[in-house]
């Protein structure tokens, strides 16, 4: 789960990680009020969307007067911000963060991630603040310094010192940086984060170490422990159909194609998308209906897939193991009796009781295109989507 920068900074502030004074604003007047509350100029006016690259896209501006705060807030609020992470469609800006601007002396990167190869959390820093870390890793990996947190242990003070020295910090900066790094790790651990990035972490002209950015992702599997974090989720940042799907425990991701698919199991769902593409179609979604493909689940699946106006054919691909194919087939038939499905539906059921399932489809007055294998299904659904069947 993602949160906004201003929410991340609130968490940092509470954990003793220095951040600039700042507050969220939902309207232009609020932005002006916030700037006046901060009391010093200049201030930064920053678009709050769940994507990086906001500065380059024109979503972050410096304001040297209250008039400029108003002007920038007017321009940024309601704009469709396009960055390399939003996709070409961009994202509507509905919230701002107005915060005091810092006197930057040097910029760094700090991040905590799970190192999947070692099964340990890794704290990394880089002297290349403000750059995309993936680019740094590729072009100048020697400028990234890493320490690993031992299982059952915490970031140790000596490791935090290693990080600070790796960034070339000196004098009082060391102490501030060590404290900041330790506190960042505490947040990561206590809140079950899956990713934390501060880019840039800065040293000010006044020798303070400040997190000017805060990107935090949380482990969705651990949210049950953190109701305060779960409440921070901004549902307007999510695709509405994906939010709807979650209510029914369906794992749905909207894509740009025209061929809808409904599959049991995440791996098979990805594989089904892949084979649709191989046969010349474009998948409209990822949808894993999980182990219980009954009439209700299937009906919700149909509703969600059909809420996408681009969909012009649907493939149902179920490999029945513990879940019996005839039950799934009955579910599909019942669901199509309940809701209007106005695009061709290709069904491919394999596994337990697959024969009985095929018979149910054959006996049903509803129109199905029954496929005999995975490749047959892909071929048929792509043809159907192009109006060739």
């Amino acid at each position: 789960m993602n949160i906004h920068e201003y929410q991340g900074k609130q968490i940092f502030r509470e954990a003793g990680v220095p951040v600039p004074e700042g507050y969220p604003a939902f309207t232009v007047d609020e932005a002006v009020n916030v700037a006046e509350k901060i009391g010093t100029l200049p201030v930064m006016v920053k678009a709050q969307i769940h994507a990086g690259g906001r500065g380059k896209g024109g979503g972050v501006k410096i304001a040297r007067s209250i008039e400029e705060v108003r002007e920038h807030a007017q321009n940024i609020l309601g704009m469709n911000l396009v960055t390399h992470q939003t996709g070409p469609g961009g994202k509507l800006v509905q919230r701002l963060l107005v915060e005091s601007a810092s006197n930057i002396a040097s910029e760094f990167y700090a991040g905590i991630v799970l190192d999947r190869s070692l099964s340990k959390f890794c704290f990394m820093v880089s002297t290349e603040g403000g750059m995309e870390i993936e680019k740094v890793a590729e072009e100048t990996p020697e400028r990234i310094f890493k320490v690993w947190i031992e299982p059952g242990a915490d970031l140790e003070p000596f490791q935090a010192r290693q990080l600070a020295f790796a960034l070339g910090m000196e004098g009082t900066q060391i102490r501030s940086a060590v404290k900041t790094f330790m506190n960042l790790w505490n947040v990561f651990r206590d809140k079950d984060c899956s990713l934390m990035e501060i880019n840039p972490l800065i040293v000010t002209v006044e020798n303070e170490v400040i997190a000017v950015d805060a990107k935090i992702n949380f482990d969705g599997n651990a949210l049950y422990k953190h109701s305060d974090i779960a409440e921070m989720q901004d549902l307007t940042e999510e695709e509405p159909s994906e939010v709807e799907a979650k209510k029914y425990n369906l794992n749905y991701i909207k894509l740009d194609g025209t061929v809808g698919c409904m599959v049991n199991g995440a791996g098979l769902a990805m594989g089904t998308m892949d084979i649709i593409k191989l046969y010349g179609g474009e998948p409209a979604n990822f949808l894993d209906v999980g182990g219980v493909a009954n009439a209700e689940t299937v009906a919700h699946g149909f509703e969600i897939i059909l809420s996408d106006p681009n969909v012009n054919a649907i493939l149902i691909n179920i490999f029945g193991g513990i879940v019996r194919c005839d039950r799934v087939a009955q579910g599909v038939i019942d669901a199509m009796g309940k809701i209007e499905v106005n695009v061709p539906v290709v069904v491919r059921l394999e596994g337990t009781n697959a024969k009985a399932a095929r018979q149910l489809f054959a006996d049903s007055p509803l129109e199905f295109i029954v496929a005999n294998s995975l490749e047959d299904a892909a071929e048929k659904v792509v043809k159907a989507s192009k109006g060739e069947i």
């Binding site: 049950y224 791996g267 029945g320």
Partner: protein
């Protein structure tokens, strides 16, 4: 022959009285798996529907029944602890089916595995089956063909069934099929299993089903090259059409920072001389050809 599980496997089921645990215990017993004990804290001394004795702790179950393998059907908030208990109990193999365990809970589990040498399959996996001998998991037993010569290793569940089905309809039986799990931290990787299958005289071909996220497939490819691995491997990578930055159902299936793409993995596998299928429908046919080469 087979790897890890066979007729000698004596299974203890952690969470045997839960809905999932009870259902799949019956299924495993029906398949012929020797389920010798169950564990549900507080229900020690009782018996389950299949007359299997229930114990309060895994250690007690192992002591009383000589169980050598444990399977875990414990809800996610308690599953990390259940793994640690299993590792401490004296069994040599742990299979964790549970999906949705926080990553932070898995770090100490992986550490305990490294320290003790106990092997774990999963979590977030369908389990492991040696067809005709032991089914330790939630996979449909009947799609498998016993006494075969092909091993299957996969990060997926139903996609594994798909691949196994393609083998079986071609008359290709399996030695052992293992779902290693879709989480970022798992007990056993492709690489570990390549080594084990390499020592199994019956295994003449391997199916490897990977997916986007992480670098386990690349690491396996590199090892295959460095060790002149001589068992033919057929691979499929799911998620060729997955968008970056999105978690595709499995906690570990995510392209992050441009890393972990299907294209990179397929290229690495191809460089290692592995038969890479673009289509998930071609796994069986490709293996059929590879076995004849």
């Amino acid at each position: 022959m087979s790897i890890l599980v066979n007729n000698d496997t004596r299974l203890v089921v952690q969470g045997i009285t839960g809905k999932e645990g009870a259902f799949h215990t019956a299924q495993m017993v029906e398949y012929g798996t020797k389920v010798v004990a169950g564990v549900t804290p507080g229900k020690g001394g009782q018996k389950d529907a299949n007359d299997i004795p229930i114990f309060n702790t895994v250690a007690e179950a192992v002591k009383e029944t000589n169980a050598n393998t444990s399977i875990i059907f414990v809800p996610p908030p308690f599953a990390g602890d259940a793994c640690l208990e299993a590792i401490d109990s004296g069994v040599s193999l742990v299979i964790c089916i549970t999906e949705g365990i926080p990553a932070k809970d898995m770090v100490p589990v992986k550490d305990a595995l490294n320290r003790t040498g106990v092997r774990m399959i999963g979590p977030n996996c369908p389990g492991i089956i040696t067809p005709g001998e032991a089914k330790i998991g939630i996979m449909p037993g009947f799609i498998h063909k016993p006494k075969g010569n092909v091993g299957v290793i996969s990060r997926s569940g139903t996609l594994t069934y798909e691949a196994v089905h393609q083998l079986t309809v071609r008359g290709i039986g399996q030695t052992t099929c293992i779902g290693i799990g879709g989480d970022p931290i798992i007990g056993t990787t492709f690489l570990d299993l390549l080594k084990l299958f390499g020592d199994d005289p019956a295994t003449e071909g391997l199916v490897m089903i990977g997916e986007i996220g992480g670098s386990a497939e690349e690491e396996a490819a590199q090892w295959i090259v460095e060790n002149n691995y001589d068992i033919p491997v057929v691979a499929f990578i799911a998620g060729q059409t997955a968008p970056p930055g999105r978690r595709m159902g499995h906690a570990g299936a995510i392209i992050s920072g441009g890393k972990g793409t299907a294209a990179d993995k397929m290229a690495a596998l191809e460089r290692a001389g592995i038969h890479v299928c673009k289509s998930p429908a071609d796994i069986g046919a490709t293996m059929e050809k590879a076995l004849k080469l």
